[in-house]
Each structure stands twice: as C-alpha cells, then as structure tokens.
C-alpha cells in the first residue's frame, strides 16, 4: 500500500499566453483512491491529459514515473499499454454499437482475422459482472442509462488490464443513486488492487472514497492531504481551493442601486436528454437597477443552464417557474421574446454560440437588433457602419476597421464585439456568462470597466463567473449555486472566497 505507483515531478505545461501547469507534483500510492480537487480552470484536466498522453511527451516539461519507470507517452494508446486508462466526463462510447462491441472497440477479440463474437460476448459478460452491471452484452449502448454507460466505460478500462484508472468528474452526469453505485464500485476495484485517480469537487464524494487529496490551484500543487494523517477535512480542502492570486485590478465604482428589474421565481429545469435529472431546482433570484449580481458555482452547478433556460428556453426541458420584470410576469419562452423584454445573454462560448466568425464586426454587432437599422425590411448599411464604428470606439475594439472578420480578432476583442451586439439591442438586464474567459489580464480590466459602466447607466447586470476574485471585485451581491440549488445570497460586504466556497460546495439538506 505504501509503494508509489505514480510520481509526477515538476510538470509545466504552457499554452500560448497561459501557463496552465507550473511545476506540478503528484504522488499516487499503489492501491489508493486519490482525489484531485480544484476550482474550474485550475488545471486538473490538463494534468490528466499530460499523464495519459493526450499531450505528447515533448509538449510539456517534467518527469513522469509509473511503477518506477520513466514514461514518454505520445498518445493515449501508449499510456493504455502501460495500464493507465482515462475515462473522460464526456463518455466516449458509440451509441449504436453493443455493450460488448464498445468494450472491445479498437481492441477486438479475433480468430484468424475475423471477430470472434462468442468470445467477445463471453468476455464482456465477465467484465460486466466485475463492475456489477447486469445487462446483456449485445444490448446497444444507447438503450442503457448514463449511469450504466459509465460502468461500461469502466468495464472497457478493466478489459485493458488497468492498473491506474483516471476518472474525470465521473459523477457529473449521474443522479444520486448512480453516483453512489459508482463510488462503491471504485472502492470495490480498490479491493482488487486497482489504483484510481478521481477528479471531483464534490466534497461528500471525496470524503467517502479518497485516501488522499491533492489540491491544485492556478496550475500549481497546493498540497496533498492524507486520510491516515487525518488531514482530509472540508475546511482544509476549501482553504486550499480558494485564495487564487488577486492578479487583476478592478475599476472603482459607486453603485446607485434602484428598484427591482428582474425576478426569477421557483425556476426548475431538467436535462434535455435525461429527463429524470434536475439541473436547476426551485431557483429564485432577483436583480435591481444599477446592480451587478454574481452567480457563483462550481462546474455542473447549473449556472449557464439557469441563464440559458431563462433566455428563450435555449437549454433544458420541462422548464417551470416565473420571470417578472418590473413586478409584471413576462414570457421569455423564445429568444426573440426575451430580447423584446429587454433581456440579453452573452454566452460563455463565444466561438460556438456568440459570433458568426466568418462575418465582419459590423454584421455581428447588428445581428441581434437588425430591425433597429431597417426600414420596411431593408437594412440601412450606412447607419449600420456608423453604429458599429461608435461601438468600436467606445468599447475600444482593436481592429483595422469594422469590416474586419471577427474570427481574426483576439479573444478580448471578440468579447467586446459580443458585448457591443447586446448593448446595441438596448437591454435592461444583461446576463454575462464568463465574460472574461480566455482573455488576457489587460482586456479583463477593460471588460470590468464596461460592466461597471453598464451598471452606472442603470442596467441590471448578472455575471456568471468561475473566478471568485472577479465576482468579489465587481459585484454588489452574489448568489451561490450548488447542484442546481441556490444555496446562498451574500451581500458583497459579507462575502469572501471562503464563505462563497462553503456555499458552493454545500450539500442538499
């Protein structure tokens, strides 16, 4: 139990402009369950990609010792040969193939060059028994639940004679019952000698299964806590996770908060495919004129899902609840209704949901409110150019002209185009989802200044962010979400990273 199986030393991985990992150390002992904790974007998944060979050996610095031998993986298949198997949060199963076919995909059992179906199904059945799944191996994967699919993934890993199993947020997509079963299985496999690394920020799960916890923050190892030394406590984990460096500056502001503009009551949303899963449960919140309200939550807490379901039902099914604007109930069931009622939502994923990257700046800015520029269905292009130019100046969009293609702009300038688009639609309420994601520090300050200015103009602003210092820096009030529930509402005067993290990791009563 006390011999190390994996040692990662001095791992440093840089992406253009960002150091994702800096000198990270990870020690995993044979036969233990080792949890990795950290906020969104701390570098957990990057570290696992380094370990499993997704990022080839030459693309990072540092050494990996597996069973005391150095590793130089260039692809996932290299690491799998050594018995390291990673299961991603998004399952990599082919829905139309059978369970048995999926288990042996890429690793088919053959006889004389032809697939040996008898053996395939027989071996699959044995593996399914090991993970405690009583399904016929010939069942197509699409016909079993997500929880069972996760078990098929583990069976697939076992078929490769796994020594080290890496699970990236394995319970993120599961309901409580399936989660419990999965955690039991991890403990069961531990009894059979399989070492596991589990990425999770659900503290109850970690307390249940983990023998050790390594905390990562801003791409650095903070510390490794060990169960046998009595170090795994909620206090200790939270203290390690928060306390990001306050590297950004925030503009001064003098909030002038007026009457309530938007109120959401008893908002519930179910997952679009898995209708048994509640993604948001009875959430209620409000935002006032001139106020910046934060929405804090860890991955999977349901922040984006809450916002998008309010904004024209663009996420989820069985959405229920009421939206009030200035005290009157409004209908926001389509995007154009939401826009008509003065709501704007700037997405966290501007490349896929925010911008038409093959079009120029002016056409992106006018996209959500083209009617304002048109008479009788015909667009006044001169007016459009004038409008776009005024935003280019006021938002300081760095581009040769408003005819520049948005796909060629930097992340910060793209974000300014997205914000311009929504400002031109003249909303009363702006929901900004991760407004500074993927943006360098200088541009971040500009975005904060814009947010501050919007509030000063009397807009109601909701900011969704994974960066607690950012929320503390610009918000007047912060709501916390955990597993789809609003777990707290904290005025800025009472808010700190620790108090917020406590609420963000709070479990349901």
């Amino acid at each position: 139990m006390n011999t190390p199986i994996l040692q990662m030393r001095g791992i440093t991985k840089t992406f253009p402009g960002v150091k994702a990992l800096q000198n990270v150390t990870l020690d995993v002992k044979r036969g233990e369950v080792h949890a990795i904790c950290g906020e969104n974007g701390a570098g957990k998944s990057t570290l696992m990609k380094v370990l499993s060979g997704v990022y080839p050996h030459s693309s990072f610095d540092g050494d990996i010792l597996f069973e005391n031998e150095p590793c130089t993986f260039n692809s996932i298949s290299d690491s799998e040969k050594r018995g390291i198997v990673i299961i991603h949060q998004e399952l990599a199963l082919s829905p139309y193939l059978s369970i048995a076919e999926n288990i042996f995909l890429g690793n088919e059992l053959t006889k004389n060059g032809w697939v040996d179906w008898r053996k395939t199904n027989l071996e699959a059945a044995k593996l399914l028994a090991r993970v405690g799944l009583s399904e016929n191996p010939v069942t197509p994967v699409q016909h079993i639940s997500v929880g069972k699919q996760q078990l098929v993934e583990i069976a697939k890993a076992l078929s490769k004679e796994v020594k080290l199993l890496i699970l990236d947020e394995p319970t993120a997509a599961l309901n409580d019952e399936d989660s419990g079963h999965l955690l039991d299985l991890i403990l069961h496999l531990k009894g059979q000698g399989v070492t596991s690394i589990i990425i999770s920020h659900k503290l109850n799960e970690i307390r249940k299964v983990a023998d050790a916890v390594t905390i990562i923050r801003d791409g650095k190892t903070i510390e490794t806590l060990r169960l046998d030394e009595g170090q795994i406590t909620q206090e200790r984990i939270i203290r390690g996770m928060v306390g990001r460096d306050l590297d950004s500056l925030y503009p001064d502001r003098d909030p002038k908060i007026g009457e309530e503009v938007l109120r959401i009551e008893d908002w519930s949303v179910r997952h679009p495919q898995d209708h048994t899963r509640m993604v948001v449960t009875n959430a209620s919140l409000n935002v006032r004129k001139g106020e910046v309200v934060g929405l804090a939550g860890l991955m999977g807490a349901g922040r984006t899902e809450l916002a998008m379901s309010v904004f024209g039902r663009t996420y989820g099914t069985a959405v229920s609840g009421k939206v009030y604007k200035h005290g009157r109930e409004i209908n926001t069931s389509t995007v154009s209704d939401a826009i008509k009622h003065g709501i704007a939502y700037a997405t966290e994923d501007r490349k896929h949901y925010g911008l038409n990257l093959i079009e120029d700046i002016k056409r992106n800015i006018s996209m959500a409110a083209l009617r304002k520029l048109a008479k009788g269905g015909w667009v006044d292009k001169n007016q459009e150019t004038i409008v776009a130019n005024s935003y280019r100046q006021s938002m300081n969009i760095k581009a040769p002209s408003v005819a520049a293609i948005t796909g060629k702009l930097s992340g910060g300038n793209q974000q300014k185009v997205v914000l311009s688009k929504w400002m031109f639609s003249d909303p009363d309420v702006l929901i900004l989802d991760e407004p500074t994601r993927g943006i360098d520090v200088g541009a971040k300050f500009e975005i904060y200044t814009i947010i501050t200015k919007l509030a000063a103009e009397g807009k109601a602003v909701i900011v969704i962010s994974s960066e607690l210092p950012e929320l503390l820096g610009i918000c007047d009030r912060i709501y916390t979400l955990s597993a789809g529930h609003i777990t707290g509402e904290v005025p800025i005067a009472d808010a700190s990273q620790e108090t917020l993290m406590h609420l963000m990791t709070k479990e349901k009563e």
Binding site: G41, E90, T347, N356, M367, S410
Partner: protein, 438 residues
Amino acid sequence: MSALRESLGFLASRLRQVGIFVALILIVLLFQVLTDGILLQPQNVTNLVVQNSYILILAIGMVMVIIAGHIDLSVGSIAGFIGAVSGVMIVHWGWAWWIAIPACLLVGALVGAWQGYWIAYVGIPAFIVTLAGMLIFRGLTLITLKNQQITPFPDELRALGGGFLPDISGGTSVLEWLTVILGVGGTAAILFQAIKERRVRRKFNLENEPMAWFAVKTAFIALLMLIITFLLASYRGTPIVLIVLAALVIIYSALMNNSIFGRHTYAIGGNLHAAELSGIKTKAVTFRLFVNMGVLAALAGLVFTARLNSAQPAGGTGFELDSIAAAFIGGAAVQGGIGTVAGAMIGGLIMGVLNNGMSILGLGTDYQQLIKGLVLLLAVGFDIFNKNRSGRGGGSALRTRFKLKTTPPAAAESAETAADRPVAVPASSRQESTVRNS
C-alpha cells in the same frame, strides 16, 4: 510601382472571386479559339443566354439555400412538375397565360412550403427531404402528363422562353436599337452604382480596394457589358428571358445584401447557434428560403417549357445538379454562410459555356459530363485548399506569402497565427465549458 504592388496584394486576397471571373474569361477564349470563332457569334451568344437562363434562375435560389447551410435536390423535378401543370392549365384547360403563370408560381410556392415544413419545422435534413421531393415531384410529373408530352403552347407563353423584345427600328437597322439603349443604360447604371458605393465606403473608411484595381475592374465589367450588348443587338435583340433574369439578379442581390431576410440567411449559415441566440427566427427563415426556391423552380420550369414548346415527362432532369454546381463553382461554401448571387451566375455561365462550347465541338455528353465533373471538383478543391492554408475566414495562400514577404517576420507571424491560435484557456476549463452538451 507601389500602386501595382498594392493592387496585386489586393488581388491575391480576393483570389477566389477574381479567379472565378478570370476562369470564365479563359474558358470563353479557349472555346472561341477551339470553335473557330463560333462561340462568340451573335446567334450563339443569344443561344447561350436562352439555353442557360433556367439554370441561372435555379442557381439564384440554390445559392441562397446553400448559404443557409442546406441543399435542394428536388428543383429539377419541381421544374418538370410545374411544366406539366402549366401544360394542363394552358393547353388542356385553356387558361390565359396571365392567369396560368401566377397560378404556376403559386403551385411552386406550395411545393416549396411542403418541403420547407419538413426541413424547418420537423427538422429532417434538407438532403433527405429534397431527395424525397426529387422522387415525389418526378412521380407527380409523370402522373400529371400521363406519361405523354403536352404541346403546343400559345405564342404568349413561348415568348418567355424564346421571345425577344420588339425591334423598334422595324428590322431595318444592322443593330437592334432597343438592345443598345438597354445595354448602354445598364452599363451606365452599373458604373454609377459602383462609384457611389465606393464613395460611401471611403466615407466610412472601409475601403481597402486600391484605386487602380477598382478602375481596371469597373472598366472591364463595363466593356464586357458593351460587348455583350453589341453581340445581342447584331442578332435579334434582347431575349425576354434575359430581362427577367437581370431583374431577378438585381432584386435577389439586393435582398441578400441589404434586407433583414438576406442578412439572417447569412447569419444562420455562418453560425446557427449564434443566430438562434441572437433572436433570429431560424425556422421561419429556412421555411421561407424553401418557399422562395419553389417559386424560382416553378419559374425555371415555365421558361424551360416555353422554350421547348412542350411539357415533357423528363423535363428538368438533372437541373438540380447544374444549379448546385453553379453555386459551388461560384464560391458558395459547403458548410454555409458564404456565397453570392453574382458568384452563382458566373458559376452557371462557366457550366453553360462548357456545355455550349463542347456541343459545338461535337463532344458527346460522355465527355461533357466528365469535364464538368472535374471542373466542379477542382473549383471546390481550390476553396478547401485555400482554407486549409490560411484558416477559416476565406483568406488565401497567396496572401500569406505576400504578407510574409512585405512585413518583418515576427510581425507577420503574429498576425497570421493570432487567428488560428486556440484561445488561451487552460484545457480543463475549455472542457468544462462543454459539459452542458453531454
């Protein structure tokens, strides 16, 4: 010297648009030589226009559908079906042409609405719906015609296919003067419009087209217009269908560039999710695009029927492929969001000149199909090649080279790589951002 270099640099950045135009001219010159001058004889130029008019009409609707990210395989069958319907209405029922034509266009709109409903509101891919439509409307054509052609049509309808504007000089002049007036007037209008637009762009500091290039391009287009005018005027004048086509090109170009509907079409094709999240009613736009395609297919069917003076069971067969090829050769992007009506017209003319030139040379349809297929493959292959070289956004390989030569290496590199570089997010958070799709 610098003006020349500037022009060349600009030319390189518009390689696709300029290239297709140059390709058309080269193909025309090639066949002019190969056919010993027959290609550009006045009568043949008139033939070229009339022969290709229905493909060009279809290509207008097709490029719009393609810009929105869809496809329509059924237009040939719809054109055939409307031809059959017009035969029944006009020849069997004796309807007047001015009732029958609007009625046929209405039937086309209904056909388009039928397909648009399945595509936009039910969500079946356009490829499947229109493949089904290709069979359905061919079947309905055969049923309507009872497998026999309907003929003859009255002269008023036939004028739509083979008629000319009246000769105001009464046939005494060498040149047909109405055509000259229209041609010169049209050329003047184009010059006026081009200069006006350039002035507006300069006013807003959007102009990146060098003066020299603008002058050469505009003068060249004007010259081309005048040559075509001269050729048409020295035969029988202006085909009526050319007037129809010119009107359609002007109206639809304006629609795609300046109307809310056109701009929403580009937005949908460029990024469907972003369009939806910007409040664009994507289903309604898609539905209307197919209704429009139905109307244009009906018009093409009428022109074709009028030209042949008969509604035939196999009428319109293969039109869909020619019009799709026209749109793609004319620069439309397979994944949507990019394309122009004018480009589709040039693409259609390239196909038309190839058809016509090879027919004059006496090449069989076997070789014609082979060569047309290769041209389509090369044109789209050229696009993909360009895109792979310079990333999404439609730059060109040549421009990359120009920039690397004329700017310091470091600056050039940062300018070029900035677009393709992944956003500087740690990979973990990028992955986390996609969780709601899981």
